[in-house]
């Protein structure tokens, strides 16, 4: 959203990223000094704890504001643990814990067997591809204690971290919990379980992917208007125009689906069926948009687009990684399809029109 009705939160977010996280500057930076400055600015403005109520030491922003923060962080391909800290803060608030400064992350981030915790609070199991695990002050985990969901916090120092052989972006590590001691354990509130984290995480990634797609469109359009071939800018070729029009359509679908899911979290968070339809649709449709849109963005950019030096890969790589977080499109589609078929053909139209 770009009009004057943007909230203070959204305005502040944009300003910080524009000042401290310009993708071209970051991509060319010789060292990581800018990361500390960025994190400090984010923390000082309260953005990192937007999903924590004020009573728990957070800023208690609205759900839609926080999803906007996530989307704008996607627009800048922000390479610090902002989204992950938002999720961790949300979990800590549910666990009645106070939030400390510093970046955090959550697990599980990819579908797999549940992380287990015993009566002494020791964690075992594995969490694949956890973003920003290495630098986190804490990994906040949803674990299974003999069938009961609990929220636990653990230091990455007490886990075994293995960098993944291919990093799509976002500094991922496979985390092994080998009787790792937790710092705290709290029962998850009634009705809250691993699927609830997964669903919120999916909605967050949907917003981040949307932002990344917006920038893919922006820089592809810009590039096409500058790059000259055959005596004219490539934006003059109908084939290129039509490709960008299709990328525009994917951005449109992503904006719609992620906005609709965020709106549901804001206004109808108690409606489980509504949340499921909206989040599943967003995660599926935006994953598809990333597939098609990312391919178009790279095609328009030609060879320079697939170099490490060019910024495009900051967006496509992250988007390709975010797709797999908190359930891939295929898994969400299977779950949505199963429900639709089980409810019967006559129930589909009323379901769609309830939104």
């Amino acid at each position: 959203m770009q009009d004057s009705s943007d909230s203070i939160v959204v305005e502040t977010t944009r300003r910080i990223f524009a000042d401290l996280c310009d993708p071209r500057t970051v991509n060319a930076a010789k060292d990581d000094a800018w990361k500390a400055r960025l994190w400090q600015a984010l923390e000082e403005s309260g953005l990192t704890l937007a999903w924590v109520p004020e009573d728990n030491g957070g800023t208690g922003a609205t759900m839609t504001d926080a999803f906007d923060i996530a989307r704008i962080s996607g627009q800048y391909a922000v390479p610090v643990a902002l989204g992950e800290t938002l999720l961790a803060g949300w979990l800590l608030a549910k666990a009645g814990q106070q939030c400390q400064p510093g970046p955090m992350t959550v697990a599980p981030m990819r579908d797999g067997p549940a992380i287990r915790i015993d009566a002494d609070g020791r964690l075992s199991g594995r969490a694949k591809a956890v973003a920003f695990a290495r630098g986190a002050t804490q990994i906040v985990v949803i674990a299974d204690r003999a069938g009961i969901p609990v929220i636990a916090g653990v230091s990455p120092q007490d886990c075994t971290l293995a960098d993944r052989p291919t990093d799509l972006g976002g500094e991922r590590a496979d985390v092994t919990f080998d009787n790792a001691p937790s710092r705290f354990v709290a029962d998850a509130p009634a009705g809250f379980d691993a699927p609830a984290l997964r669903q919120l995480g999916a909605a967050l990634r949907a917003a981040q992917m949307t932002g990344a797609l917006e920038t893919m469109l922006h820089i592809s359009t810009e590039y096409a208007g500058e790059r000259v071939a055959f005596g004219r800018t490539i934006s003059k070729f109908q084939a290129v125009q039509h490709n960008l029009a299709q990328l525009g359509a994917e951005v449109a679908a992503a904006l719609t689906a992620s906005g609709s899911a965020a709106d549901t979290y804001e206004n109808e968070a108690d409606d489980a069926a509504a949340l499921f339809l909206e989040v599943a649709s967003a995660k599926i449709r935006i994953g598809e948009a990333v597939e098609k849109g990312g391919a178009i963005a790279h095609q328009v950019h030609g060879a320079i687009g697939y170099t490490a030096e060019h910024v495009l890969q900051r967006f496509t790589r992250r988007a390709w990684g975010w797709r797999d977080d908190f359930g891939s499109e295929s898994v969400w589609a299977r779950d949505l399809g199963e429900r639709v078929i089980a409810n019967g053909a006559d129930a589909l139209w009323p379901t769609l029109t309830s939104r």
Binding site: I72, G225, A252, V340, A345
Partner: protein, 387 residues
Amino acid sequence: MQTAIRFDPMRLPPETEKLRQEVRAFIAEEIEAGTFDPALGLKGESFDREFSKRVAAKGWIGMTWPKKYGGAERSYLDRYVVTEELRAVTAPTWAHFVADRQSGPVILKYGSEKVKQEVLPRICRGEVGFAIGMSEPNSGSDLFAAAAKAEKVDGGYRLSGTKVWTSNAHQADYMIGLFRTSPPTKENRRHGLTQFVINMSWDGITVNPIIQMSGKHDFNEVVFDNVFVPDDYQLGEVDGAWKQATSELAYERSGPERFLETYYVLTGFINAIGDQPVDLRTSEGVGRLVAQLHTLRRMSVSVAGMLEAGKEPVLESSIVKDSGTIWEQELPGKVRSLAAFVEREPGNDPDLDDIIDFALLQAPKFTIQGGTTEVLRGIIARGLGLR
């Protein structure tokens, strides 16, 4: 970083829910009475004058128009709800749909008082239907290359030339036709076309059927041989039709009819599955289709909200039409692919394979009628600043 594209999360207002339930009750009665069978979809007869009169009796034609012309002065969002409910069951609305969606609004905006009084109340009563006379054998997408002539005579014009792809001209009472009154100018190649309301019973009009490969007779060729049109029936300024096109297209392009034409194939498939155990491939396939459909509908509702707020979302409505028509076109093929591993109980009526086959034969026209893909993508590219 930002994009010019906006699709705010619009929800239809709670007040529309009561109307939605009324429309569903009406549809249920009509199905019970045997007026149409939703499972047949596009195979069914789409033109039903008596059905249109019953829709009109409910106040659902010309809903947004002034009461003095027979309308109900209801909101555009109310109309959206009625439209999507009728389209989802492929109800036979063809006798009034075009008149309601675009012909009436154009007459309201640009017509003489005489024509408004003559035509609009009759549309609202479901008594008359309209055809659109724009395309010609040598100009379709290139609308402003139209060559059929309107020659000025005393008291009116004489029309001559041929229009083609005119849906429903064989059953329409009126047509809104685009005719050339002057040559284009160097400054404006769109200059020189004028729109007229034409009574299809006037002398000199011949309608020849064009049968589609599916066997359906939707389209026609309409030949004008010195047809006299009184001055009163001119719409807007002479030579100025190019100014009238844009807002009309925003209304025409983004509605639920642009992605629901083959919805019945999806529900037909789910019905064919019935109580059989479902495999991963089938679940995933259906889930993806539903996610795509939900998103398309949310996009369309968002555009409806922008139109209700008085905006002209040309970029957004072109995106909805482009994405929607491709989706509804591809749907029969995707269902066919998923249906390959689903058992069909013999005697299921209608047969799913026949439904898919017929939809495949209708599908090519979705991305051509009302604005082709290639033209829409040019409009989208312009909206993105590329042209």
